[in-house]
């Protein structure tokens, strides 16, 4: 029993975000210069990042620890926030999305994710997840003038709540078995009570698998994601294709690798078929898409399939691989979405892949950037995508999942086709219609930042690999 309040140092970054978000939401009506919000978000993201590193190692009671594991994920989230803040202004301006609310909701969502990444308590994990989810539901529906935005939000909301119920059930059973919601304590209790062969524990693990599989969009719990991605404003799609997914993986790492370490064989066996299904379904479905947002949605499903390989490996290397994968994925995926954002005009969606036909002729720079992002998504060296894939495959292989890796590489070959198709349209077909693109400095900076990341980490990933591994060292034995 505590006699005094714990130190709040550990949650300074989150506090900062919440405060700035709330202020933004409040003053939205009175500030007409929208750039202020963008700048505020960028500065906040950078400040929060600095705080994340400064508060590293601090704890907040038993519930929360700003450990290295969390630091890495928070870096990803803030990176995502930074990139999305850069890509959003033009698009939001064009479609009349309120900057203040938009950025506020983004920051709330990021707060939720950060809580998920650093939590040591299932309750806080649930609340962080809900905070993130609720913010994202609203973000998806922000473009309520468009039916598809609302429809996407509604579907995402319904299915998300449905999945939350499974998560709660899983947590309830786990709590019932161990008498605690603290993640480390659960692990200890499971070992102490020798529950590693208990069917009820497996049930709980299975329900966790269902819930997290929904969050990171593993097949067959992925079905919300193409619809939500397509319906959402593209700036939000960019955000939710990386952020919540990474948060889901962060939570997965905490729950599966720490809390449920005793049932590792079981949840591994549950995740393996999901991973295989995910990689192939995502790849196969991406092949037949003509809407680029939807295509990237399926692509992100496939990528989740790869990322989960690191969790399946269940080792320090595996977790580091997943983390690195997500980090690199942020650069390339948001980069790709930035280009899609550029295509949008008031009366022109610019989402059909045929809209990209001949882009290399009309806008060579943009086409080249998209080319690089797409090849990175394909996993062709010397781009970051290859490094990520390599690390993940390596970790899974090391953990003995040979067949899984072979299937993964085959899936990656199938998955290459949709990206190639877009490149093909951009570079090998003549332009059919005039496509107008107005680069604003923000998005240009974002694109440059992303492409630099993709290429730099493609040829010199050493430091970031070391970082990811170091972040896992304290996390896993």
């Amino acid at each position: 029993m505590w006699s005094s309040l714990p130190s709040f140092v550990a949650v300074y970054p989150e506090t900062l975000l919440v405060v700035v978000a709330s202020v933004m939401a409040l003053v939205d009506r009175w500030i007409t210069r929208k750039a202020v919000f963008t700048w505020a978000t960028i500065v906040t993201a950078l400040l929060a990042l600095a705080l994340v590193f400064l508060t590293q190692g601090t704890t907040f009671g038993h519930a929360y620890a700003a450990d290295q594991y969390g630091v890495f994920f928070k870096t990803i989230f803030l990176l995502v926030l930074f990139l999305v803040a850069l890509l959003a202004p033009g698009y939001n301006q064009l479609l009349g999305i309120n900057f203040g609310e938009f950025y506020a909701l983004l920051m709330y969502a990021v707060t939720g994710m950060m809580l998920m990444a650093s939590t040591r308590d299932l309750i806080l994990l649930y609340l962080g997840l809900e905070l993130m989810s609720l913010s994202v539901y609203v973000l998806v529906g922000l473009l309520y003038a468009e039916l598809r935005s609302l429809e996407g939000a509604m579907k995402y909301f319904l299915l998300g709540s449905f999945a939350s119920a499974f998560l709660l059930l899983a947590m309830a059973f786990l709590y019932g078995l161990t008498g605690t919601t603290n993640i480390e304590a659960i692990a200890k209790a499971l070992l102490a009570a020798n529950l590693s062969a208990n069917k009820a524990l497996f049930l709980s693990a299975a329900l966790f698998v269902v819930a997290f599989a929904f969050k990171v969009a593993l097949v067959p719990f992925h079905m919300w994601s193409p619809d939500a991605y397509e319906g959402a404003p593209t700036s939000v799609t960019a955000f939710m294709s990386v952020g919540p997914k990474a948060a889901g993986f962060a939570a997965m790492g905490r729950v599966f690798l720490i809390a449920l370490a005793a049932a590792k064989t079981e949840w591994t066996q549950l995740l393996v078929p999901l991973a295989v299904l995910t990689m192939f379904t995502g790849a196969v479905l991406a092949v037949v898409q003509t809407n680029i947002k939807r295509l990237l949605a399926y692509s992100s499903i496939t990528h989740a399939g790869y990322a989960v390989l690191g969790i399946i490996a269940g080792t320090k290397e595996g977790m580091a691989a997943t983390m690195l994968y997500l980090f690199l994925y942020a650069f390339m995926n948001i980069g790709a979405f930035s280009v899609i954002v550029l295509m949008r005009r008031r009366n022109f969606l610019g989402e059909n892949i045929f809209d990209y036909q001949g882009l290399s002729k009309t806008h060579p720079t943009v086409a080249l950037l998209l080319l690089i992002f797409l090849f990175s998504l394909t996993g062709i060296p010397p781009t970051a995508g290859f490094i990520g894939k390599f690390f993940v495959f390596r970790a899974a292989f090391e953990a003995g999942h040979t067949a899984l890796v072979i299937l993964a590489v085959l899936a990656s070959a199938i998955a290459a086709y949709p990206y190639l198709r877009i490149v093909m349209l951009m570079y090998m077909k003549p332009p059919e219609k005039e496509v107008e693109i107005s680069l604003n400095p923000y998005i240009f900076a974002g694109l440059m930042f992303a492409v630099t990341g993709v290429l730099l980490f493609g040829v010199y990933p050493g430091p970031v690999i070391d970082f990811a591994r170091a972040c896992c060292t304290g996390f896993l034995p």
């Binding site: 066996q269 393996v272 290399s360 060579p364 090849f375 062709i380 060296p381 010397p382 290859f386 390599f390 495959f393 390596r394 292989f397 090391e398 040979t402 067949a403 890796v405 072979i406 590489v409 085959l410 990656s412 070959a413 290459a416 086709y417 190639l420 198709r421 490149v423 093909m424 570079y427 090998m428 077909k429 010199y460 990933p461 050493g462 690999i465 070391d466 591994r469």
Partner: protein, 514 residues
């Protein structure tokens, strides 16, 4: 096999690899003035070629190990280093790559008129990646270059290619990607076993046979597609047919050599026991490629397609030589790779010359060209003869050594392989007759003969054809020490081979979750 190293004082190989990349970056910044761009890339390519010349003269032919070695730590976390070096097996390919790049720029001078800047950037990047493949002594670095080359090549075929290029590029890309990713699995496995990507260290690993067996096939997937071996050859005719001339020349000249080079550098030295055990299937596939590729040539009606299928047949000779595991044959195979690069590259250049004038590749649209374009016909004749393997041309030396060596190791393979020589003469002469002899086809009447620029690109090839044909000793001289060391390594490798059924059972055991 302990591989000796000889470190370079000057980072020559790095300079060779990165000069085109720097050139490409500068090109990116240059204004879109076609003449400027062409001249600039030509200068870069020539400079790069000039840089490779010291390799030729400074190379110590008696030294079996790696020379011009550079090694720097790169990704420490995975023990990856930036590790370059060449030996007698790879040095000639670096030279050839540089030469081919120069020639490709020359032959594209007028053929490529759209997106000139992009074209030359892609060309230079391809060239850099190819040379990187041949110089890498780190498996990761190797794979990086190996895959990186796909992107510019994909663009070269897809943007500047023929009418059906989209299908061809996708096929090319996916085919090679499927092969490569399987190799990636193998590479990861090797890394986990060896704890390093250092090729020279992995060579000494001495894995048990069941591992070697599986890894052999994983690497085989990548190399066989690249070579291409039967039955994974069908991307090649499509890619060749649709590629612009420069693309075809690079494909034929260098790209498909990378597969055979991979067999030599990796399959043989990493998995010697498996290579020995898989010798017969490999020889069989090679023989099938030779004969199948030859026979199918007889049915072709498209100039480029015919030459492409002939590549399948010729590369069958190369793999035949490699997997005969006999010194003469392996040297012959390496020489034959160079030869095929020169000859088939030159043939594609020649086809490009008329294609630029007529925009048709159908054989029936030609006829009597010897009357119309006699100089061109003479060039084509020499390359045809080299392709047939007439003594005095380079093709003969390679094929002869391959068949001779193969005969010493597996007679039936040499006998069947030699049948390919007959078929080769049949389809090439048939082609030559239909295109150059007989009455002048009105469609080609009055075509201008080759221009100076085209002659300039073809003459080096012609000289090489005759030089290697009449005096191959300096070229073969590069290889003796390295090939001998390699084959000693292969033949000394110990390991009990298991029956396939046993291997499969064990493999399933490993792969399936318990």
């Amino acid at each position: 096999m302990e591989v000796a190293l000889r470190t370079a004082e000057f980072p020559l190989l790095s300079a060779i690899i990165w000069l085109p990349v720097i050139g490409a970056i500068i090109l990116l910044l240059l204004p879109r003035r076609d003449r400027l761009i062409r001249w600039f890339s030509l200068v870069v390519a020539l400079a790069d070629f000039a840089l490779t010349l010291p390799l030729f003269s400074w190379f110590d032919k008696d030294f079996a190990g790696m020379q011009f070695v550079e090694k720097h730590a790169w990704i420490k976390a995975w023990h990856i280093s930036y590790f370059l070096g060449v030996d007698g097996i790879s040095v000639l390919f670096v030279l050839l790559s540089a030469l081919v790049t120069v020639l490709c720029i020359l032959i594209s001078w007028e053929a490529v008129t759209e997106k000139v800047k992009e074209f030359h950037i892609a060309l230079l990047l391809t060239s850099a990646a190819m040379m990187g493949v041949f110089c890498s002594l780190d498996l990761f670095l190797f794979y990086l270059f190996w895959e990186a080359m796909l992107i510019p090549m994909y663009l070269i075929i897809g943007i500047w290619g023929g009418p059906n290029r989209l299908y061809a590029t996708i096929k090319f890309f996916l085919y090679t990607l499927v092969g490569s990713v399987l190799m990636l699995v193998g590479i990861i496995f090797l890394y986990l076993k060896a704890g390093t990507f250092n090729i020279l260290e992995i060579m000494q690993l001495g894995l048990p046979y069941q591992f070697q067996f599986w890894l052999f096939w994983a690497f085989f997937a990548a190399f066989a597609v690249k070579v291409p071996m039967w039955p994974v050859h069908t991307w090649l005719p499509d890619a060749h047919t649709e590629a612009p001339t420069a693309g075809s020349v690079i494909l034929a000249g260098i790209l498909i050599k990378m597969g055979a080079y991979g067999f030599l550098r990796f399959s043989l030295s990493f998995f010697p026991v498996a290579a020995k055990a898989m010798m017969v299937p490999m020889l069989l596939l090679s023989v099938i490629a030779i004969i199948y590729g030859g026979i199918i040539c007889l049915a072709q009606t498209d100039l480029k397609r015919l030459i492409a299928y002939s590549s399948v047949s010729h590369m069958g000779f190369v793999t035949l030589g490699i997997f005969s595991l006999e010194g003469n044959a392996v040297e012959g195979a390496i020489l034959q790779m160079i030869n095929h690069g020169i000859v088939t590259g030159a043939l594609f250049m020649c086809v490009g010359v008329v294609y630029e004038r007529t925009h048709t590749r159908a054989i029936k649209d030609y006829g009597g060209l010897a009357t119309v374009m006699p100089i061109y016909a003479a060039f084509f004749m020499v390359f045809t003869l080299a392709s047939i393997g007439l003594p005095g041309t380079n093709g003969f030396i390679g094929e002869f050594l391959i068949l001779l060596g193969t005969f010493a190791s597996k007679r039936w393979a040499a006998v069947l392989g030699a049948l390919g020589v007959i078929i080769g003469a049949t389809y090439m002469l048939r082609l030559y007759q239909q295109v150059f002899y007989q009455e002048v086809n009105p469609k080609v009447a009055g075509l201008p003969d080759v221009k100076m620029r085209e002659v300039l690109a073809l003459v080096p090839m012609l000289i090489l054809v005759l030089l290697i044909g009449c005096y191959p000793t300096p070229f073969l001289g590069f290889m003796h020490a390295s090939v001998r060391a390699l084959l000693e390594h292969v033949h000394q490798a110990a390991g009990t081979t298991l029956p396939i059924s046993e291997i499969l059972k064990e493999g399933l055991h490993v792969v399936l979750p318990s």
